[in-house]
Amino acid sequence: MRPSKSRGMGYALASAVVLIVWQVLAWLLDTRALPSPGETAGALAAGLRTGILPNLVVSAWRVLLATTLGLVVGAPAGLLMGRSRRLDSVAGPLVFLAYPVPKVVFLPVLLVMFGIGDAPKVALMALIVFFQILVTARDAARAVSPSAVLSVQSLGASRWQGFRHVVVPASLPAIFTALRVSTGTAIAVLFFSETVAGTDGLGWYIMDAWTRIAYADMFAGIVAMGFMGVAIYEVLEIAESRLCRWTRAGRTDER
């Protein structure tokens, strides 16, 4: 459990640095637009009882749903593409045509299709996660060591068993990396979509506070968003250390 302990120390240290820089800046600038950490903490405490918590839950729910959707569809599709030349020759060009397009541009269409509730925001984030995972999983599946595949084939493995014992575990670390990268992008885009069209969520809460010139509330929202990011990152970290125990094996210098 030593790694998690040292990570806890890391977070404490990082928070201390942020708080000090923030406090100094607030003191130097002396403007209402940058409330001090103390004022923000007060607003956060008050907000937790009134507005922030429900909005945090709404945003977190959207991220969770979108990530799950993107992962559940993207990972198998990418792995299959990586292992089937025929499927790849059909689907590959389509994917690479769509991959570089910034998915935010689909927001107007999604708004028309789904209205202004959860659906368009979830769909937009799911698209981002989906493509990132799809492309990464495809490349990871292609890079699987041929001899690992041969050796399970020589044991009589079916195609499905080959996936289960070789392709999926070999690709998991790359998929986790893609998840970390894409949830970051997804949260940024969630903020955008919640401010453009929405009546709830942390993005909406922050913009609403801004228009009310309630800067302390606004910063409380930003801090809450930071916490959400850390929480998601930690959940992924724990899941990866459970599912990819072997990537930490053999590095004896760490023990």
Partner: protein, 263 residues
């Protein structure tokens, strides 16, 4: 024990650069016989082994094991590749039991069989370690454990010891010999090492450069004892084999050097 018959085997790979790896190769390995295969680099030794394992379909000719045509992976053939085919994400016991798992053997039986095999190979206390945590020699033992767990009667090996240091290598050659003496399985060992071929092969198949065929077969009936390695016959056999290999151009690059050619 199941013998191996290879008749007119040709293995060709299509693709951007078509290659004929093995051409019209004939070979008979008796049931329970340990055979070593040696030849110049790229002589199609690995392709021969993959064909024996049923992983590469012959372009022509046929492979029979135990009298039955090989059309795919066979239940009691174990294949050990150069990098051993251990899966880094599975623990020692899961790697060793993978063949049984794929064949649908239930977990309890699997555990019993695997525990016994690991015990026998001195791996019991490493059952829950990952391959990356083991030395090269130990990994080699895990790969052997997988073959033993399957109760393989045909063991095909593609330079399995080539990554080991000299001492570990001899240690594992002794282990391979010991296992064979106990179980008397049919064994085909592809190797680059003259000493290894002479120590472990009762017959040594010398292959031609690609496309691979059998150039000659060297009888080596004395193989099968640990003390053989220290005997005069062993040394003579190594010299004979080295000469045969030189005739097949296995040492092509050295000849260029001796002729004063540029590297």
């Amino acid at each position: 024990m199941a013998g191996i018959e290879v008749e007119g085997l040709t293995v060709a790979y299509s693709g951007a650069k078509p290659v004929v790896a093995v051409r019209s190769l004939d070979l008979r390995v008796d049931g329970g016989e340990p055979v070593a295969v040696i030849g110049p680099s790229g002589c199609g030794k690995s392709s021969l082994l993959l064909a024996l394992a049923g992983l590469v379909p012959p372009s022509a000719g046929a492979v029979r094991i135990g009298g039955e045509g090989v059309a795919g992976p066979r239940l009691r053939t174990a294949l050990m590749l150069q990098d051993l085919g251990l899966l880094p994400w599975k623990t020692v016991e899961h790697n060793a039991g993978l063949g049984l798992e794929i064949r649908g053997v239930d977990a309890a039986t699997r555990r019993t069989v695997v525990r016994a095999v690991l015990e026998r190979l001195g791996l019991a206390e490493f059952a829950r370690a990952f391959p990356a945590e083991l030395s090269g020699g130990m990994r080699q033992r895990v790969a052997l454990a997988r073959a033993l767990a399957l109760d393989a009667d045909v063991l095909l090996m593609d330079e399995p010891l080539s990554a080991l240091d000299a001492l570990t290598r001899e240690d594992l050659q002794d282990l391979l010999l010991g296992l064979w003496l106990q179980r008397r399985h049919t064994q085909v060992l592809v190797t680059h090492s003259i000493e290894e071929a002479v120590f472990l092969g009762r017959r040594i198949v010398v292959m031609t450069p690609r496309p691979g065929r059998v150039a000659a077969i060297l009888d080596n009936p004395e193989a099968g004892e640990r003390s053989y390695r220290a005997s005069e016959t062993f040394l003579h056999r190594c010299v004979t084999l080295r000469r045969m290999l030189a005739e097949e151009g296995a040492f092509a690059s050295t000849e260029v050097d001796e002729a004063g050619g540029e590297r």
